[in-house]
Amino acid sequence: MQSLLPFLAPLRSVRSVGFVLLLSLFAWDMAAQKLPAVTLRDLNGKPVNTASLAQSGAPTLICFWATWCSPCKRELNAYMEHYAEWQKRTGVRIVAVSIDDARSSSRVAPYVSSVDWDCQVLLDPNKDFARAMQVINVPHTFLVDGKGQIVWQHNNYADGDEDEVFQQLLKYGRK
C-alpha cells in the first residue's frame, strides 16, 4: 500500500482542482451576498451577531479598519465629516469593524472617543468576521442595502473616495 502512495500524489492535486470547480458551479447559481453570522463584541463588551447588522429599508456601510492602518483612519475620519448629512439623505448607518488583535485592541475605544466617531464600533480580534467577508487587506468597505444584500465594496482608500461612497448611498439609500 505504501508503495502506491507516490502514484496517488498527483491525484490529490486533481481532486483539489475538482473541489474548486465544484464549488465554482455553485457560484454561478448564487444569490447576492448576505452578511455572514459571526458573533463580535462592541466596545461595551456586548455580543453582536453580524448577520443582524443590516438595517431594514436603509443601507449600512461596514468598514474594516485597524488603529495601525493610516488609510483606514483617514477613510473613517472622512466619512464622519459627512455622516450626519449622509444619514439625513439616505438613512445610512456606519459600522466600523476593528481587526486590531490583542496587541492593540485596547487602543480602539480611546482612539474612537478622541476623534469622536459617532458610529457603532465592533472588535474582530482574530479576524473571524473579516475572513468570512473575504477581506484580504484593510481598509475594505462594504455597502449593504436595505434588503440585507452586499451591493458594493471597495478595497483601499484615497482622498475623495467618499464622493463615490455617497453616490452609491444615493443609489441604494432611502428614497
Binding site: 500524489a9 480611546p110 472617543s113 478595497n155
Partner: protein, 575 residues
C-alpha cells in the same frame, strides 16, 4: 516566467485564473440578480477571494540582493466559502512557485492548505467545525491560532471544534487538533496534539435585571493541553525525561463601567522543557493588564505585562515562527511610518520580559488658539520593556530550572524604550499636516533585528507628512523622514511621494537613503516606484525597484526580509 515552473505551476495558475474569471462573472451575476429582485437563495452562496504576489529578482551587489536560481517567485491564494443556511464549507488553494524571498523557503508547490466544514445554529447555541479553524481564547496568551499571510505565519488547527452557548451569556468552547507547520503541495501538520477547553460568562447577560446595569463583568478561564511523544535528553551529567503532556491555563476578568474598561488575565504553564527555554522544567507565568478611559475628545490606555517562560508550542523542539499555540503581543505600538516601523521593530522576548506602556489621545477643540479652525489631534505613546528580575540557579537546580524570578517587576537589562508623539492638524480644506517624533532605545541583543550591531541603539526619528488636495478627487501625499543614530547603520532618510486619483488610480515613489552608514560603500539609495488601480474589491499594482533588507512586521510578529531588486506585481480580489 510564471509558467516555466512545471506541470504543477500550470495547473495552479489555471485554477487561480479560473477563480479570477469567476470574480468578474459573479459580479455580473450579482448585478443581474439584484436588478431582477434577487432569487436563487436556496442554492446557497459562494464567496471568495484571490491574492497573487509575483516578484522578479535581479542581481545588485551594492545592496546584497538575493537572486534565487529561478529568478522569479509567485505566492498565490484562492479562498472559497460556500454557505447554505447554517452550513458552510470552504477551502484555500495555495501556490508557492517558488515562495517569494522572505517567506519560509520550505513552502513549496500547490495544493489545499486549509479546508473546513461548519454547522452553526445560533438559535440553539451550537457551532461545530471539522477540518481547519482559527481560534482565540481570551487575549490569546494561552491559545491563539491565526494567520498573517503576508508573513507566511499560519498555525491553523486541524481537527474538531465545538462551541456551545447553552444560555445567553455563557459560551463554552472545546477543541482538539494538530497545528499547521508547513506546506509542500498540501498541508503538513506538526507532531503535537492540542486539546483545549474555554468557558466565558458575561454576568450581565445571565439575568434580565442585570442587563441594564452600568457595570458589566465578564469572567473566563481555559485549559490547554499538548501531547507529544516523549523521550529523554542528556543535559550536563543528567538524563532528563521530557514530559509527554504539557498543560497551560489562564483566568481572565473584564470589567466595564461608563468610560472605564479594565481587563486582567493571569496564565500558567507547567512541565514544558523546550528548545525555547533550554529544556528547563520551571513553571511559566504571565500577567496582562489593560486599563482604558475614553470620553469625547480624549482617551488613554495603560498596558502592563510580564511574561516568564510562556513560549508554548505543539512541538517542544521548534523555534521562531513554528507551531506557536499561544500569542504574546508586543508592548510597543505598531508604527506605520517606514523608518520607525521597519528598522528597529520590537517583538516580545518570549523567554521573559516585564513591560509597561500607554497611549493618550487628545483632540484640541477647534476655534481655539492651539486647535485652529478644525481642531488639532495629539497622540502620545510610551513603551518600556526590560528583562526579568531573576537569580540564576546553580548545579542540578540550574540544569533543571534555570533561574528563579524574584518579582513581577523590571530586571536590570533594558530591552526597549519607545516614546513618540504625533501631531495632526488640518490647515485648510485642502491641506493637512502631520509631524511625528520618536525616541528609541533598542537592545539588538534581546531582539536581534540587525547583524551589524550588538547592543543598545539610541535613535531619534522625525517625520513630516503633508496631504494636499490638488483638485477634486485628486490628492498628493508627501512624507519626509529622518532617523538619526550613532549606532548600527547610522543615519537614514526617507522621502515618499504618492498621488491618487479617486477612486481608481495611484502612483507612488519612495527613496530610502542610508546616508550615514559608517561604511561609505553602503550609503545606498533604495528607490522604489509603484503604480496601481483599484476597482471596487479588485486591486492591481506593479512596482519596480530596490527592496531594502529589513524587518517586516504585522501585529507584533516580525520576519526578516533580505534585500532584493526587481519587479513586483500584486493582485487582490474579493467576491
Amino acid at each position: 516566467m510564471i509558467f516555466s515552473c512545471g506541470v504543477r505551476g500550470r495547473r495552479a495558475a489555471a485554477v487561480l485564473f479560473a477563480l479570477g474569471c469567476l470574480t468578474s462573472g459573479l459580479r455580473a451575476q450579482e448585478e443581474g440578480q439584484l436588478e431582477g429582485g434577487g432569487g436563487g437563495e436556496d442554492a446557497g452562496r459562494v464567496t471568495g477571494n484571490v491574492q497573487l504576489l509575483w516578484q522578479s529578482y535581479a542581481p545588485d551587489s551594492l545592496i546584497g540582493a538575493v537572486v534565487p536560481p529561478e529568478k522569479s517567485a509567485l505566492n498565490a491564494y484562492g479562498n472559497l466559502i460556500y454557505t447554505r443556511g447554517n452550513f458552510s464549507a470552504g477551502m484555500r488553494y495555495e501556490s508557492y512557485l517558488n515562495a517569494v524571498v522572505g517567506f519560509p523557503g520550505r513552502f513549496k508547490g500547490t495544493g489545499v492548505g486549509y479546508r473546513f466544514a461548519r454547522y452553526s445554529d445560533p438559535d440553539v447555541g451550537l457551532d461545530i467545525t471539522l477540518g481547519n479553524f482559527y481560534e482565540q481564547f481570551g487575549s490569546g496568551i494561552v491559545l491563539r491560532s491565526y494567520e498573517e499571510r503576508a508573513l507566511g505565519i499560519d498555525n491553523a488547527l486541524d481537527g474538531f471544534r465545538l462551541i456551545l452557548t447553552p444560555v445567553p451569556g455563557v459560551e463554552v468552547k472545546a477543541l482538539l487538533g494538530k497545528q499547521r507547520l508547513d506546506f509542500n503541495s498540501g498541508l503538513i501538520l506538526g507532531p503535537g496534539l492540542v486539546r483545549a477547553v474555554d468557558a466565558q460568562v458575561t454576568l450581565n447577560d445571565l439575568r434580565e435585571e442585570w442587563a441594564a446595569r452600568d457595570l458589566r463583568v465578564t469572567l473566563g478561564g481555559n485549559f490547554v493541553s499538548r501531547f507529544q511523544a516523549g523521550s529523554t535528553i542528556a543535559k550536563d551529567t543528567l538524563v532528563l525525561t521530557l514530559p509527554q503532556n504539557v498543560a497551560a491555563w489562564s483566568y481572565r476578568l473584564g470589567v466595564q463601567r461608563g468610560r472605564w474598561t479594565g481587563n486582567l488575565e493571569y496564565a500558567t504553564k507547567i512541565n514544558d522543557p523546550s528548545a525555547d527555554n533550554q529544556y528547563v522544567y520551571r513553571k511559566g507565568e504571565a500577567i496582562l493588564l489593560d486599563l482604558t478611559y475614553a470620553q469625547r475628545g480624549f482617551g488613554w490606555v495603560l498596558n502592563a505585562k510580564t511574561v516568564d517562560n510562556m513560549s508554548f508550542r505543539s512541538d517542544r523542539n521548534v523555534l521562531l515562527f513554528d507551531l506557536p499555540i499561544n500569542y504574546i503581543p508586543a508592548i510597543t505600538k505598531q508604527h506605520t511610518y517606514n523608518l520607525a516601523a521597519t528598522l528597529y521593530p520590537y517583538a516580545t522576548v518570549v523567554a521573559g520580559e516585564s513591560s509597561i506602556g500607554g497611549e493618550m489621545y487628545y483632540t484640541v477643540p477647534k476655534e481655539t488658539r492651539l486647535g485652529g479652525p478644525y481642531g488639532t489631534r495629539i497622540t502620545l505613546n510610551v513603551a518600556a520593556a526590560n528583562g526579568l528580575d531573576t537569580t540564576r540557579l546553580e548545579g542540578v537546580e540550574g540544569a533543571t530550572l534555570g533561574f528563579r524570578r524574584n518579582s513581577w517587576g523590571f530586571g536590570p537589562v533594558k530591552f526597549v524604550r519607545d516614546v513618540n508623539v504625533l501631531l495632526e492638524r488640518k490647515i485648510n480644506s485642502d491641506l493637512k499636516l502631520k509631524y511625528a517624533y520618536f525616541y528609541l532605545e533598542f537592545n539588538t541583543l534581546a531582539t536581534p533585528v540587525t547583524t551589524t550591531f550588538k547592543g543598545l541603539v539610541y535613535a531619534d526619528i522625525h517625520v513630516l507628512e503633508a496631504q494636499w488636495k490638488t483638485a477634486p478627487k485628486q490628492s498628493l501625499r508627501a512624507e519626509v523622514q529622518g532617523l538619526f543614530t550613532e549606532q548600527d547603520k547610522g543615519d537614514w532618510a526617507t522621502a515618499i511621494l504618492e498621488y491618487t486619483w479617486s477612486p481608481h488610480w495611484f502612483v507612488s515613489v519612495m527613496d530610502q537613503y542610508n546616508y550615514g552608514n559608517p561604511d561609505p560603500g553602503a550609503r545606498v539609495h533604495y528607490l522604489y516606484g509603484a503604480v496601481g488601480r483599484t476597482d471596487g474589491p479588485h486591486r492591481l499594482s506593479v512596482g519596480y525597484g530596490k527592496r531594502r533588507e529589513g524587518i517586516f512586521c504585522i501585529g507584533g510578529v516580525c520576519r526578516a526580509v533580505p534585500a532584493s531588486n526587481g519587479f513586483e506585481i500584486t493582485f487582490t480580489s474579493s467576491f
